[in-house]
């Protein structure tokens, strides 16, 4: 929805001092001609206006609230919510408190953002690279994808995908069955998953161990390269470790391969994992819309590295994989990462549109809370606080990254 431009603050761009003439104490200028004093007056006036307007609005609000008998404060958080939430990552029932309902909402927002961001980055990168392909057909199709999806409001896209689910897709009895174990109907998407087995937990632990091992391997390889100049094939070894560890655990655990395949029972499917139409539509709309922007960012990032860099690296005798790894990517990523982070933040903020198609994200739950308690100010303040927290977290990361990735110039 939004394209954010994040520009690091630079003191150099600020207007320099203009008060060269009035600085000397001897010159006898009236106070309204002395820029320093005038600045103080301006600031005091501006602050006074803001405070007065704020006070005026605040007192009006208090009077209005009192007249309409609306409670204030966050006491409602501990009361019973008495509404159901469609889907939840943690156990929740209508008898739980508002606080827990809101927590369910936050978790749902995080869930859709997390999955959405991963899919967006993957699809966006692929489309961005396709746009630069020498294959005319592929490049034009990527161009069309980018142009069309960028220019259609994300809310319309959400409605469209949601409509596809409830208008076009058949009922579970005639569910579409594109590949084995996947069923698409107007009740959502159902797909088969491996039957739960104790080995899976062990595999998860093995994967985490592998991640840690890769981290230390990379550090060691970098150190060795700095010292001796010899390059260790980090990527290939990491891949083997990341896949090998869990696979080995799986084989040791007796290789349980039983699948939990969804079956039609009565009016709906049992078994497998069920993705609700709301979630699927929301994810689809957000991912397609944002990936168009990400594709443009990736394209611009790759194009920003001049051809001479590749040629120079090849002249130095680096192999193509090393050229990509050591020369192109570090430079392209410096251009790509900041706007990419903004797009991720945009996706998170746009997930608030879930309220329009009935997915219980944070805004949607908060909206229900507002309708039930009538405490609009607290509800909207909560919405703002949560999103502000996410965005401040992102900007903190960005500042850290900019600091780290800054070109060190002589």
């Amino acid at each position: 929805m939004r394209q954010e431009q994040t520009i690091p603050e630079e003191p150099g761009g600020r207007p320099p001092s203009q008060n060269t003439a009035a600085d000397s104490p001897e010159t006898d200028t009236a106070f309204w001609q002395d820029p320093d004093k005038r600045a103080v007056i301006f600031q005091v006036a501006a602050l006074a206006v803001v405070l007065l307007v704020g006070y005026y609005l605040f007192s009006n609000t208090l009077a209005n609230l009192e007249r309409q008998n609306i409670a204030t404060g966050f006491d409602f958080m501990d009361k019973e919510a008495s509404f159901e939430v469609g889907e939840s990552l943690i156990p929740y029932s209508a008898a739980d408190t508002y606080a827990r309902a809101l927590l369910v909402g936050v978790l749902n927002t995080l869930k859709v953002s997390f999955i959405g961001i991963i899919l967006t980055v993957v699809i966006g990168t692929l489309v961005g690279i396709a746009r630069l392909s020498t294959n005319w057909l592929l490049s034009k199709m990527a161009g069309g994808y980018i142009e069309v999806l960028q220019d259609i409001p994300v809310l319309l896209q959400l409605f469209f995908w949601y409509a596809i689910f409830y208008d076009v897709f058949p009922s579970p009895r005639q569910a579409l069955h594109p590949i084995t174990g996947v069923f698409v109907s107007n009740r959502g998407l159902v797909f088969a998953v491996p039957e739960s087995h104790p080995v899976h937990t062990a595999m998860g632990i093995a994967f985490l161990v592998a991640c840690a091992a890769v981290y230390f391997l990379r550090r060691w390889a970098r150190k060795r390269q700095m010292k001796t100049g010899r390059i260790f094939p980090v990527f290939r070894v990491s891949l083997i470790v990341l896949i090998g560890f869990p696979l080995a655990v799986w084989l040791l655990g007796g290789a349980p391969a039983k699948m939990n395949i969804p079956e039609l029972r009565g009016f709906n499917f049992r078994g497998g994992i069920n993705v609700s139409p709301e979630f699927a539509a929301l994810l689809m709309g957000l991912v397609l819309y944002t990936s168009a922007f990400v594709a443009e960012i990736v394209r611009a990032g790759i194009q920003s590295v001049s051809k001479g860099q590749t040629e120079a690296a090849l002249t130095l005798g680096l192999r193509p994989a090393m050229v990509l790894n050591l020369v192109i990517l570090p430079q392209a990523l410096r251009v790509i990462i900041p706007p990419l982070t903004s797009q991720m933040l945009n996706l998170t903020k746009n997930s608030s549109l879930a309220v329009a198609i009935g997915f219980p994200d944070f805004v949607s739950v908060a909206n229900t809370t507002i309708n039930q308690t009538g405490q609009a100010i607290e509800g909207i303040a909560l919405i703002m606080a949560v999103y502000l927290f996410f965005s401040l977290l992102t900007s903190a990361f960005m500042n850290w990254y900019n600091q780290k990735a800054r070109l060190v110039e002589r």
Partner: protein, 366 residues
């Protein structure tokens, strides 16, 4: 050979050698652009296969089996698209609850607006008369929409809807947000700490929250801010929310432009003896605003698309009118067609804006 042809070139022994067929013409182009390497060949074939699988059913659905100007009954007899939903409901989709007998007025207002926008595309007309034309145009549009004078029946703003509402929210939103954004950007660059921190807080606060929360605020909280007895209509409140939101984004873009101006420009302005306002108006802003035309236009395009969010606070913009059409039992189930139509409308508008931005960028290149 005879003597008379002495001064002419001898006939070539062989025919002129043409470049191989595989290098020029259609075949050459196909070879160079689609089959230049083995993986490109594979990709091309894969894409062609996908198109061959997808395109025929789509064409069949959208064109061959579709109904265009029929009633809803005729649509039930086909598997194809029912585009009839658009012509049958076009008046409601475009104008919402505006009284049908008066709908020529919003139509005229929209035509006037589009004409003004079209004239403004050309930079040769960027003079004072155009500004007067805009002011006059906006007043005429207001009169047309609202009525109440010149023998026009008054129409309450709660009856406004559809395309005029979308365009009004966008045009007023953008024109008001732009100067506000520039002021905020200047404030953020200011040397006065109080002004600077006020602007920073405002910009970061607004950019950190979704537009939807501001729209909720305008719909639910804003009435609480006002003293008893004073009410502001819903459209205006949403408009204010959109302006405040867009301004923060414009401000960030303009800041980028301000930071790109070299220090020497400020020093030159100082040495000419210009004061702050003269420096900004004559030296800094003309350069800074020009640099940031492309990102500004993308902010404006976003703002245009974002006006669709007013659906959530139940304003009848073009998206909401389309949705209400779909809740009519006669037309239920044809949402794909209706939303595709709307997507085309939005696409045309946004595409128009982005082409204009590219054109402007080319013209202003120095």
């Amino acid at each position: 050979m005879t003597d008379t042809t002495h001064f002419t070139r001898p006939e070539p022994e062989t025919d002129e050698i043409k470049p191989p067929v595989t290098q020029v013409g259609v075949i050459g182009w196909i070879k160079a652009n689609l089959f230049n390497t083995w993986y490109n060949s594979v990709l091309t074939l894969a894409v062609l296969f996908a198109l061959w699988q997808l395109a025929p059913p789509l064409v069949e659905w959208a064109f061959l089996d579709s109904r265009w100007y029929t009633d809803s009954e005729a649509c039930r007899t086909t598997d194809g698209a029912c585009w009839s939903i658009i012509p049958n409901n076009i008046r409601f989709i475009l104008f919402g609850f505006y009284p049908p007998s008066e709908q020529w007025r919003p139509l005229l207002a929209v035509i006037l607006l589009v004409a003004l926008l079209f004239i403004s595309r050309n930079r040769r007309f960027w003079r004072k008369p155009l500004a007067y034309a805009w002011m006059g145009g906006l007043v005429v549009m207001g009169i047309l929409m609202r009525g109440g004078i010149l023998g026009l029946d008054p129409v309450e703003s709660s009856q406004w809807g559809g395309l005029p509402l979308t365009l009004m929210l966008s045009v007023f939103g953008l024109t008001a947000a732009y100067p506000l954004g520039v002021v905020l950007a200047l404030g953020r660059q200011s040397r006065m700490p109080a002004i600077k921190s006020l602007c920073v807080i405002y910009i970061e606060l607004i950019r950190g929250v979704p537009l939807i929360s501001l729209l909720f605020m305008s719909a639910v909280i804003f009435p609480l801010f006002l003293p008893e007895g004073i009410t502001i209509n819903k459209i205006l409140r949403a408009q204010v929310a959109i302006i405040l939101f867009t301004a923060a984004y414009v401000a960030e873009v303009v800041r980028g432009g301000l930071q790109a101006i070299p220090k020497g420009q400020y020093e030159a302005a100082d040495s000419l003896g210009l004061n702050y306002f003269q420096t900004m108006r004559l030296i800094i802003l003309p350069q800074a605003l020009k640099i940031v035309i492309p990102p500004t236009v993308s902010v404006l395009i976003s703002a245009f698309k974002d006006t669709s969010l007013v659906v959530i606070i139940a304003l009848y913009d073009i998206l909401k009118t389309t949705q209400s059409t779909l809740s009519n039992p006669k037309w239920m189930g044809y949402s794909t067609e209706a939303y595709l139509f709307l997507a085309v409308v939005y696409f045309i508008c946004c595409f128009f804006m982005s082409t204009f931005s590219r054109k402007l960028e080319r013209e202003l290149a120095t």
